[in-house]
Symmetry: C2
Subunit: 230 residues, 2 copies
DNA sequence: CGGTGTTTTGACGTCGGTCAATATGTGTGG
DNA sequence: CCACACATATTGACCGACGTCAAAACACCG
């Protein structure tokens, strides 16, 4: 069992303020888990007994709309924590979490979280800041989804994927998603998404090779994402 | 200056756990304010020096999209608290707050909030639960906005307005909004919204009289909101 | 090699946005 | 109380973006 006080990803999340005693307790209560690409971490409506701290890998958080299509709401990767909302509100999960990659995750039982929230104001404050950030992002997504055309949203998504997950050695987006996944982020039909991708390709702003996508003209893409260009 | 320990709305929000000493301090630091319909409480990008506790009235929280249209993200009314996200994250406001009604509001300075967060875990926990709830709502809105057609969203909005604010003595929705406001909630052009309202009217599910809207056939409207009927 | 799943392209219809004209309020001062 | 100006609501006509269905091209794998 690896020690939490040596864990690098902890530096970037709500656990970075814990003292050595609290970290030792964390090391003892946490459980390491491995998920393979496509595995479900938890599903909408499920009751969570703890949170998931991502050591390595990427998960997508999605929700089924009442018309039967998935909407991807958010990605979570190295250092980030999953399931905090449900644990804090003591409610069933509102979203489904699926591994996009092979993942290495630490599961931290609910009790540990609750107890620390009750006695450690700094810890609570970290959680609050985290959720405040998520809330701001969510509000921004609402505005974009409801007001921007699909091409603009697609451009935003591509830029966002680059910002969040970076590039591989050849300059392609590191995260590999199916066209269906991409359209489920953008909130559109798969075919529309494909069509707009090939449009962007024809215009010379991106290149694709199988699932891999490369952004070639980032500044023009930014203009499209801002609605200045179409 | 009225006393917070006698305030009814406190029972419904994050302040309901404070002890009598903390409440006395709150009474002394808070400032009562009155806003008239259309007044701006704060604007996107503005730095907030505290939170607003709504004693009476309704405010709309909106954000300007990069194509120049407003998107209403959320309403806040009696007992609810405004501006908490910005104060907690110590960031400029992400949304603009405008009074929909004449309002009676208590302004609570940032320092009071921060100090209590630092020493009172129960208080922090209340904030956390509040934000967890907001976050869930926001995620649900994202899914609806990106996946549902306008008529469905309009039906949902009407039902939501009824749930949140209730009816007046004649059975009309208590909250009075312009068509433009309604379309800014639904995320559509004003004319489209008007057209769909008159469609719902022709179909007999609602009645309108000026700005006032009455829901006549709530069960059918629910079916439309769920996408079962069109 | 065929079989299965994903990506791409084509054709077509419709939902919803835009512009413009008209109607209906709503408030103001006379 | 009326007349005028001005805002808001409603309706019509038109068009483009986007969703849907279907077929073809391509990839991946036993």
């Amino acid at each position: 069992m690896s020690k939490c006080d040596k864990c690098i990803v902890r530096k970037f999340n709500v656990f970075h303020f814990l003292n050595s005693g609290e970290l030792k307790e964390l090391s003892n209560t946490k459980v390491s888990k491995v998920y393979n690409k496509g595995d479900v971490l938890f599903e909408e409506g499920e009751h969570l007994n703890g949170v998931y701290c991502v050591r390595h890998g990427i998960a997508k958080l999605s929700k089924l709309s009442n018309n039967g299509r998935d909407q991807i709401v958010k990605f979570v990767s190295n250092g980030e924590v999953l399931g905090q909302r449900s644990v804090i509100a003591q409610e069933p999960a509102n979203l489904t979490a699926v591994a996009v990659n092979d993942m290495n995750v630490c599961f931290i039982p609910k009790n540990y979280i609750i107890e620390n929230l009750e006695r450690n104001p700094k810890f609570s404050y970290e959680f609050l800041k985290d959720m405040a950030h998520d809330l701001k992002e969510a509000d921004n997504v609402i505005v974009n989804m409801s007001q921007n055309p699909v091409k603009q949203r697609l451009a935003e998504v591509l830029l966002h994927l680059k910002e969040s997950f970076g590039l591989d050695d050849d300059g392609y987006l590191l995260i590999k998603l199916s066209r269906e996944d991409i359209s489920n982020i953008v909130g559109t039909a798969t075919e529309s998404c494909i069509r707009l991708l090939s449009e962007l390709k024809k215009e010379g702003y991106i290149t694709t090779s199988g699932k891999k996508i490369m952004i070639k003209d980032i500044s023009t893409l930014k203009q499209i994402a801002r609605g200045i260009l179409h």
